[in-house]
């Protein structure tokens, strides 16, 4: 899990959602690339973010895209966040004895514009939260910081400031994460993407 490094946060606000990740691509202690966000857009209101082995992240992303195409063709509608969580959880457990070495976060807005955030471990065990979820090499620091700064009922601008602060502060001390950051803010108006300036070390 610590081979490539990286960290991801997802936070829920008032009818909005924010997902942030760092941009480092590393090979153990060596930083090979500075442009690898670990978040992927599923549809207008959903994101999937993963930390762990980058090869497995890429494979899992392609598997999800494939399953979603099949779903939208069969059901003729866009998938809801809870359905995706269940599908992903089952798929991860199918590889019980040779698991994908990734920790997944699913973040999406429901039909009633309420945020749904969920994290999964390597075998697909889900854990829903109404506040925030974190994943990555510096998850302990991120848990502490987010617990401190998260407030209920945040609007998109305040949510963006909070999640950016949490990402920067949490990944500062971790050598395997950082090297830039990216935040997606999902609200009823659409998705806004912003880059963060962090310590480049």
């Amino acid at each position: 899990m610590e081979y490539n490094g990286g960290c991801v946060i997802a936070m829920g606000g008032k009818n909005c959602l924010a997902v942030a990740s760092d941009l480092r691509f590393g090979l153990e202690n060596f930083t090979q690339g500075l442009n690898t966000p670990k978040m992927f857009r599923i549809n207008q209101k959903m994101f999937i973010a993963m930390t762990g082995l980058l090869g497995d992240i890429a494979t899992l992303k392609q598997v999800i895209e494939y399953k979603l195409s099949l779903y939208s063709t069969k059901e003729s509608k866009t998938i809801r966040p809870l359905i995706l969580v269940t599908m992903l959880s089952l798929f991860l457990y199918q590889n019980r004895f040779s698991p994908f070495v990734v920790e997944t976060i699913v973040a999406g807005l429901n039909e009633n514009e309420k945020p749904l955030i969920c994290t999964m471990d390597v075998l697909g065990a889900t854990s829903f939260s109404s506040k925030f979820v974190v994943s990555g090499t510096c998850s302990e620091s991120l848990y502490g910081i987010c617990e401190n700064y998260w407030k209920p009922g945040m609007e998109p601008e305040e949510l963006f400031k909070t999640i950016s602060n949490c990402l920067i502060l949490g990944s500062n001390r971790d050598c395997l994460s950082g090297w830039g950051g990216m935040v997606h803010i999902i609200s009823t108006n659409g998705v806004e993407t912003k880059s963060l300036k962090t310590r480049m070390d």
Binding site: F25, Q32, G33, L53, L54, G55, A58, T59, Q62, S98
Partner: protein, 193 residues
């Protein structure tokens, strides 16, 4: 371990690759060409365990050729890179192949592109890349001196700097470096440094 230094310039891609074939403490062959051409506009360089290298290189080269014959469409660099990544990813859990690859290609629509894939299936598109133990020495030099859209002469100058550092400080005497360029005219060798 092989050293491959590759960069993207203005409408061309250039790489420097060492030419020795070592076996334990001996140099078996001093003038080995490790670049494999895929199609007319892509270079594939594979390094790692010797048996895995030759088997995987042949497999990729012939599979891509077969697929482009079957479909009648020449493959782009992006598709070749993703195809290799998928094969490595599947091999990881069945019959692990310990190879790292660099793919440098030129497409008429996109221009030059450079991909690095490691043995776990991590694919990364980059502007400059070093593969091998030499990456510890050369990467920071490239971070400092690389500029986007360089012309050929400054790019070769930068490669000369990198090779100078290796000849000064790298334990293994990599006798010569073969310089290859890919641009709209195709693949060609420039010389040996």
């Amino acid at each position: 371990m092989d050293t491959v230094i590759s960069l993207i310039g203005r409408n061309f891609g250039i790489l420097a690759i060492d030419t020795i074939s070592p076996r334990s403490i001996f140099i078996m062959k001093k003038d080995l060409n490790k670049c494999v051409e895929i199609g007319k506009n892509k270079y594939l360089i594979v390094s790692g365990l010797p048996g895995d290298v030759s088997q995987f290189t042949d497999f990729i080269q012939k599979s891509v050729q077969l697929n482009s014959l079957k479909t009648g469409i020449p493959f782009s660099t992006h598709s070749v890179a993703n195809f290799v990544r998928k094969e490595l990813s599947e091999c990881l859990r069945k019959n692990p192949v310990k190879v790292n690859l660099t793919i440098l290609g030129f497409d008429d629509s996109i221009g030059p592109s450079l991909y690095f894939i490691d043995y776990l299936g991590n694919l990364q598109r980059m502007n400059y890349c070093v593969q091998g133990h030499a990456s510890l020495l050369v990467f920071s030099l490239l971070d400092r001196h690389f500029k986007k859209e360089m012309d050929i002469k400054p790019a070769i100058g930068l490669l000369v700097k990198c090779i100078g550092v290796l000849k000064n400080r790298f334990l293994i005497n990599q006798v010569g470096f073969l310089i290859k360029i890919i641009d709209s005219k195709g693949c060609r060798s420039v010389g040996i440094l």
